[in-house]
C-alpha cells in the first residue's frame, strides 16, 4: 500500500511534544513526533522500551497519566484536532472510531469486577445500541458473541469469571473482544503479545490479523519484536527517544535500513544463518530530563557531525519517495 495517497489521512500526528512532570524534573519524552496513518493502512512502530511509543498512542486517545503535559503539536483524526476536542466528541471518538489494546492484559482488566460486567458496560455504552432498550439479556447475548469472535471457549463461564481466574492469553483475547466488539476505524495495538507465552503469542497475533482483515480496520502495531512487525504491517516507523527517525515500507526498511540506529537495530538481531552476534549499539538510552541537544541519537552515533549536535534533523527522502529518514547524513539530497 503506497503511503502517499491523495485522500485525507485517517490519523495525523504532527510535531507532538509531551513531557512528564516528576519530582526529579520534567521528562521531555516526545520531541516532535510525526506519524500518519491512512485508511486501511497497517502501520508498525519499532523502538526500544521507553522511547515514547506508548506515550504517543495514549496521547491519541487522550488517556495520558495525570502528570503528563502536551507541550506542542497536534493530532488530527479525520480532520478534527483530537487535543482540542470537547469531551462529548472525544467520547464518541473513543467509542466509535479508535480503540486500543494494551501491553499487559492483566493490568488492563479491573481486578474486582467480573469480565461479564465490564464487557456488558462497554457494549452498553458503545453507542451502537439504545441504552434504554438494552436489557441484561441482550447485553449478555452480545457479550457472548464478542467472545466467540475471539475464539474463547466456553464464553458463558468466562463472562462469570474474574480476570485473575483466567490465563494470560485468555485475558488478552478478552481485551481484543472488548475493543472490537463494536465497529471501529483504527486499532492501536501496543505490544499486544509481548507479555504472553511464546506459544500463545502466535495464536493471538493470528487472531488479530484475521479480525483486522475481516473488519477492514486500520492498524497501528507497536512492537519491539522485529519479526512480528515484519510479518504484519505495510509501513514501518522507527522511533528513538521521542522522535520518529525512519519511515519506510516494510520490505524497504528491512532490506535497506538507512538511519544508523535502524542499521544497528537490525544488525543486533542474532541471525539463524550463523553470522554470529553483533556488538549491539554502543551507549544508552538518553536521560529525558536533560536530553542531548540536536539529534537525540548523536551521542551513540558513529557518524555524528557538528550539525547533529545542534539541530534535530527533519525528514529527508531516502532511496525511494516513500522511504524517509531523519538524519543529517541524507541531508544534501
Amino acid at each position: 500500500m503506497r503511503r502517499q495517497s491523495s485522500t485525507q489521512p485517517l490519523l495525523e500526528v504532527k510535531n507532538l511534544r509531551i513531557g512528564y512532570k516528576t519530582y526529579l524534573g520534567k521528562l521531555k519524552v516526545l520531541n516532535g513526533v510525526n506519524l500518519t496513518v491512512h485508511q486501511g493502512e497497517k502501520v508498525g512502530i519499532i523502538g526500544e522500551s521507553g522511547c515514547g511509543k506508548t506515550t504517543t498512542m495514549k496521547a491519541v486517545l487522550r488517556i495520558l497519566a495525570t502528570n503528563a503535559t502536551v507541550d506542542g503539536g497536534d493530532i488530527q483524526f479525520k480532520g478534527d484536532d483530537i487535543l482540542k476536542m470537547d469531551h462529548k466528541r472525544l467520547s464518541e471518538m473513543r467509542r466509535k472510531s479508535i480503540t486500543m489494546i494494551f501491553q499487559d492484559p492483566t493490568a488492563a482488566l479491573n481486578p474486582v469486577f467480573k469480565v461479564g460486567d465490564l464487557l456488558a458496560d462497554v457494549i452498553k455504552f458503545s453507542g451502537n445500541i439504545d441504552i434504554k432498550a438494552a436489557s441484561k439479556k441482550t447485553l449478555r447475548q452480545k457479550s457472548i458473541e464478542a467472545l466467540k469472535e475471539v475464539a474463547l471457549p466456553d464464553p458463558e463461564r468466562v463472562l462469570d469469571s474474574y480476570p485473575f481466574q483466567l490465563s494470560g492469553g485468555m485475558r488478552q483475547r478478552i481485551c481484543i473482544a472488548m475493543s472490537l466488539s463494536t465497529a471501529k476505524d483504527l486499532l492501536i495495538a501496543d505490544e499486544p503479545t509481548t507479555n504472553l507465552d511464546v506459544t500463545i503469542q502466535d495464536q493471538v497475533l493470528r487472531l488479530m490479523k484475521n479480525l483486522v482483515e475481516k473488519k477492514g480496520l486500520s492498524v497501528i502495531l507497536i512492537s519491539h519484536a522485529l519479526g512480528t512487525i515484519r510479518g504484519t504491517v505495510d509501513t514501518v516507523y522507527v522511533m528513538y527517544a521521542g522522535n520518529m527517525i525512519e519511515i519506510a515500507e516494510t520490505k524497504d526498511l528491512f532490506s535497506n535500513p538507512l538511519h544508523p540506529y535502524t542499521k544497528g537495530l537490525l544488525e543486533s538481531v542474532p541471525k539463524l544463518s550463523g553470522a554470529g552476534f553483533s556488538e549491539g549499539i554502543k551507549g544508552r538510552v538518553p536521560d529525558y530530563i536533560n536530553p542531548p541537544p540536536g539529534c537525540r541519537f548523536h551521542p551513540r552515533c558513529s557518524y555524528a557531525y557538528e550539525i547533529c549536535r545542534k539541530e534535530n534533523p527533519p525528514f529527508f527522502d531516502g532511496d525511494t519517495n516513500d522511504h524517509k529518514v531523519a538524519c543529517w547524513l541524507y541531508g544534501k539530497r
Partner: protein
Amino acid sequence: MIFSLFGLSVLVFVLSRVLPGDPALMLAGPDAPKWVVDQLRIQLRLNQPLYTQYFYWLNDVFHGNLGYSTLTRRSVTLDIIQYLPASLELIGLAAVFSVTGAFALGVVAGRYSYKWPDNIVRIVSYVGISIPAFVLAIIFQLVFGLWLKWFPVQGPGTNAVDQVYHMVLPAVALCLGGMLQDARIIRAGMVENKDKDYISMETAQGLPERTITFKYLLKPSLIPAVTVMGLDIAALLANAFLVETVFNWPGFSQLGIRYMLNKDLNGIVALVLVIGIIYAIANILVDIVVAYLDPRIRLMERGE
C-alpha cells in the same frame, strides 16, 4: 480469632485474681463480720486453685452470669444489659455517619484531586485526625452547645426523636477522626488507581466518566478503607468511653468508669470481655464486607 477471645478471657481473669484486693472483702463491705467474709470466700471459690476458679467462671459466663458487682450489688449482667443499648445506639449512629461521611469526602477529594475540594478535605482531615475524640467532644459542647445553642449538651433526651437530636453531637465527635481517616484512604486509593491501566482502558473504551468514577474506580479504592474500618470500630468503642462522659450519655462508659474508680473487678473484667466480643463480631462483619468487595480474597483461598 476464637482463640484470641479465649485467651483474652484468661488474661482478664488472671488479672482480676492476681491484682491486689480481696474480692470477698470488697463485696461484703468493711463492716461485715469475719465469718461472713469467710463464707463469701468459699462461695466465690476464692480458696480453690486458679484454674478451677477459671473453669467455674467460664461456665458462669456462658450461662450469662458475669458475677456480682461490688458497686451496684447486683448481677453485672443486669448492669450491662441496662446500660449497653444506649451505647450501642450512639456507636451505631456514629458508625453510620462515619461511613457515609468517609464515602462522600473521599470520593469528592479523589474526583477533584489536587484542586480545591481535595485540598480542603486534606487539610481538614490532617487536623481532624489529630484531635482526640474527647477534646473534640468538649469543643463541640462548647461551640455548638453552649455558644451557638444548636444542640443540647447533656443527657439522653426524652422521647425517641429528641433522643436522636441529643445523639448528634456526641456521635459526630466520636466518628470524626475515623471518618476523616477513611476519607483519606479512599481518596488516596482513587488517586493511585486513576493512573492504573485498567482505568485507562475503560476510558479508552469510551465508558462515561461517571460510570468509571463511581463504579470502576471506587470499588478497588474502597478495599483498603474497609480493611481499616475494623480498627475504626475499636476506636469507636474506646472513644465512646470518654465522649459519653463529656455528654453525660447513659451508656456503658458511665458504668465502666464507675466500676473503675471503685475497683469493681468483676465489673471491669466482664465489661472488657463484652467489649472484646462486640469488637470480634464487628471484625468478622468487616471481613465479610472486604471479601465481598475483593473477589481475590474470596476465591484465592481455593487456589487459582
